[in-house]
């Protein structure tokens, strides 16, 4: 059954996209999902599935405005709701693919979402994504020296960023080393790079967000990391060695880059929460089926009240999480009512949502594994896969502790965290 949400805000486009994803997931993901773990490096199974969705079903152009051949998700009045739904529906099948799709859109949000649509860059980059070929973007934030420091914009204001951008005539010259972005390890065609025009300064005007096509000289992607799970999401190092891009590849310029980058945090939180929601829903579906088949004390597992109690806790957790995800999505849809997406308030709400929903999802997955015992850790039951995968979502974007600090700072007006 469908878990709670306000259905009045489901747009026709959203419904249509959700149906496409369902069609895609059943045909192109489920039959291969159990191969993903060993496929972490080669992506012999992952990439065709991803390509099908991005090129075959056309999602790759989704965020661009209609005039550039896109679906206009970014300038739709349902931007938040549609984003949440995409991540939820893909997350049911695989959170790794969800994040791969999400992170392709993510850097593009800086230039495709109203009211800040950068038509020049849209025109230029939409050509790249319009190719009938899998095209992927990545958001290069984290650096080796300081974990969550970069996402920690409100406290550090970019002070610790070491990737530098120097203007040389009409070109930016970029140098730096990034760790862990999704869609790296050779996948990305375009990077959105967080860098500084004045290293060591805590001033948002020096915070720069610059696009770097991956095929430029001086860009190097490392080998993908092996991880506990999340095999469909490749993460790696990226090095920028005197990479030169045109001046207009900086998203918006002084001050505005930092401002709209906060929206990247807000939407990242929404996407993270929504894809873990999808994972929870799939766990629910698996439990629904398996707890009806497995028998205990002469009855289906689910008919034992002790088991039913755990199943109920799981369902209730999903019910509440979904209501919260779509409430926040709606709030992002209507800046006129709820404030700008990049406002400190909306970012803090996003952090709070990600904090709780990711925690809930980790908890649900843990309970499901325990409940199924032997079968819980069996890879052919798919529950343990979600359990391993979703932990990553809880950890990224600065992890739990940064989430907590951002929430505390805003909700309690803390000044010294």
């Amino acid at each position: 059954m469908e878990f709670a949400r306000i259905r009045e805000f489901e747009s026709p486009l959203e419904r249509y996209l959700a149906e496409m994803i369902k069609d895609w997931g059943e045909k192109y993901v489920l039959p291969y999902r159990r191969e993903f773990d060993e496929d972490w490096k080669e992506h012999r199974y992952v990439e065709p599935a991803l390509e099908k969705l991005m090129v075959g079903y056309g999602f790759q152009m989704g965020v661009f405005p209609g005039e550039f051949g896109g679906w206009g998700i970014g300038n739709s009045d349902y931007f938040g709701s549609i984003t949440a739904r995409l991540m939820e529906e893909i997350g049911r099948y695989d959170t790794g693919i969800a994040v791969s799709v999400g992170v392709t859109f993510w850097p593009l949000f800086m230039i495709t979402v109203k009211p800040h649509i950068n038509y020049d860059l849209c025109a230029e980059f939409s050509e790249l994504f319009a190719r009938k070929k899998l095209t992927i973007a990545a958001n290069a934030m984290t650096e080796p020296q300081g974990g969550s420091d970069i996402e920690n914009l409100d406290e550090l204001r970019g002070k610790t960023i070491r990737t530098t951008a120097v203007l040389d005539g009409d070109e930016w010259v970029i140098n730096g080393h990034k760790l862990w972005p999704t869609n790296t390890g050779g996948m990305a065609d375009l990077f959105g790079v967080v860098c500084t025009t004045k290293p060591g300064e805590a001033d948002e005007k020096y915070f720069a967000y610059i696009y770097i096509p991956a095929n430029l000289p001086g860009v190097k992607q490392g080998e993908p990391y092996r991880k506990a799970g999340m095999a469909a999401d490749k993460n790696s190092d990226i090095w920028f060695d005197n990479v030169r891009v045109p001046k207009h590849y900086r998203a918006w310029g002084e001050g505005l880059d930092a401002k709209y980058f906060r929206e990247i945090i807000a939407t990242g939180c929404l996407g993270s929460a929504a894809m873990t929601l999808g994972a929870m829903e799939n766990i629910y579906e698996i439990l629904y089926e398996k707890c009806g088949e497995l028998r205990y004390r002469g009855k289906p597992l689910k008919e034992n009240t002790a088991v039913a109690a755990v199943l109920a806790d799981i369902a209730a957790e999903i019910e509440v999480s979904r209501a919260a995800v779509y409430t926040y999505a709606r709030m992002l849809d209507r800046p006129d009512i709820y404030g700008e997406r990049y406002s400190a308030e909306m970012v803090a709400r996003g952090r709070a949502l990600k904090l709780k929903v990711c925690d809930a999802c980790c908890d649900v997955a843990r309970k499901a594994v325990d409940l199924l015992s032997h079968y819980g850790i069996d890879r052919s039951f798919d529950v343990e896969k979600h359990w391993r995968d979703v932990k990553m979502v809880q950890l990224w974007m600065g992890g739990r502790q940064l989430c907590q600090m951002d929430v505390a700072r805003h909700f309690y007006d803390c000044k010294q965290l």
Binding site: G147, G298, V369, D370, S373, R379, K391, L395, W396, Q404
Partner: protein
């Protein structure tokens, strides 16, 4: 001192110290250098297991000296198991998991006719033992399905289809819970068991498992009756608890190192109170687990009923496996992606600890405690 405490006085023994020392050396030589890859490469795990089981002799702890074993007595065993499994847990919980079944089975067989049969196996080269516990199914064994045992002339016919606890694919011996004269253990030769394909699991990769089909006829002497199954569970719980203590301590060490090296807000992580609090929590959990496992080992040296120790052992195993998981899980939150990466080593402890916790079947254990302490009548027999 890092998340360890001195053991209770009664748990100190020269033999334990000696064995622990060998295990430490083994871990440093045979496991640590390969830890990143060991999960992907079963040969590595197998090589390490052989060294531990055969060369160091962990598979022969209970084998009489006359047959080349250590011939340990029940009085010597608990401290040695506590220390050695804690040490193994710091290196590879999967290997310890495989060993635990062997140790628990041998302990359950001492004094029975089948012990000699086991000793033969245990003293002639690398050996693995798989336990086939009751499992999801019907009502025979407190709500779990138990292998069927039917008398057939002088022999007993054992029938079962399902999944062992561990090492089903590799085991040389199977110890099967069956419904003979109440609950008994049947000891089967590996050749008497038909095996399916290896099951891929979340962790504990040194223990390759599969579904098995058993349709064997064995001599009555291969059956261990009475409370042997309880003894098996007691020793298994002690081994797993100690293993989890080691795992928790190792996770603490890993996150402790990270919290020292990693800077945030200009200070090492460990000097930020929000992170320090997580460190405090993991230390607390690890110590609590250690206290519980030691308590169990110590109790086994005392004059207590099997029933009481059985119950204590179940509680301790739940506590310790939960603690090992929580420690790794929270440590991972602190280490973020670094904890999640294979190189970080933490994620293996995390997967292994969760697997042990899941296999202990929390729900069912709690219901058993309820029977024990509150005389709940949950199962009709």
């Amino acid at each position: 001192m890092r998340t360890t405490i001195n053991p209770l006085a009664e748990l100190k023994s020269d033999t334990a110290e000696m064995i622990t020392k060998s295990i430490k050396e083994w871990a440093e030589k045979e496991v640590m250098p390969y830890r990143h890859e060991i999960d992907d490469n079963f040969e590595m795990a197998e090589r390490a297991m052989k060294k531990l089981f055969v060369d160091i002799g962990m598979q022969k702890l209970l084998v009489p000296e006359s047959a080349g074993g250590a011939g340990l007595s029940f009085e010597e065993l608990p401290p040695i198991l506590y220390h050695s499994f804690s040490e193994i847990g710091k290196a590879d919980a999967g290997i310890g998991f495989v060993l635990s079944a062997l140790v628990a089975s041998s302990a359950s067989a001492i004094g029975s006719e089948v012990f000699d049969f086991m000793v033969d196996k245990l003293s002639s080269g690398f050996c693995r033992v798989s336990i086939v516990p009751p499992q999801f199914g019907n009502d025979d064994f407190r709500g779990f399905e138990l292998a069927k045992a039917v008398e057939k002339g002088n022999k007993i016919r054992i029938k079962f289809y399902g999944r062992p606890l561990n090492s089903g694919f590799d085991a040389d011996l199977f110890v099967v819970f069956c419904n003979y004269d109440g609950v008994s253990l049947a000891v089967l030769d590996g050749e008497e068991v038909e095996r399916g394909e290896i099951v891929k699991t979340a962790g504990l990769n040194a223990s390759r498992n599969c579904d098995v089909r058993i349709k064997a006829e064995v001599e009555k002497s291969r059956i261990i009756k009475g409370d042997a199954w309880k003894r098996l569970e007691i020793y298994l719980n002690l081994c797993l608890s100690s293993l989890c203590v080691g795992s928790a301590v190792d996770s603490c060490r890993i996150v402790g190192d990270w919290a020292e090296k990693r800077f945030i807000r200009g200070k090492p992580l460990k000097d930020n109170t929000v992170d320090a609090e997580v460190l405090g929590e993991v230390a607390k959990e690890a110590i609590e687990a250690s206290m519980a496992a030691q308590f169990l080992a110590k109790s086994m040296l005392e004059d207590r009923s099997d029933d009481e120790i059985h119950t204590l052992s179940a509680i301790t195993a739940l506590k310790c496996s939960g603690a090992a998981f929580n420690v790794a899980d929270r440590a991972m939150e602190l280490m973020a992606s670094q904890g999640y990466a294979r190189e970080g080593l933490l994620e293996k402890q995390w997967r292994d600890a969760k697997s042990i916790a899941a296999l202990l079947n929390q729900q069912h254990s709690l219901l058993e405690l309820s029977e024990r302490f509150f005389a709940s009548k949950l199962w009709e027999r």
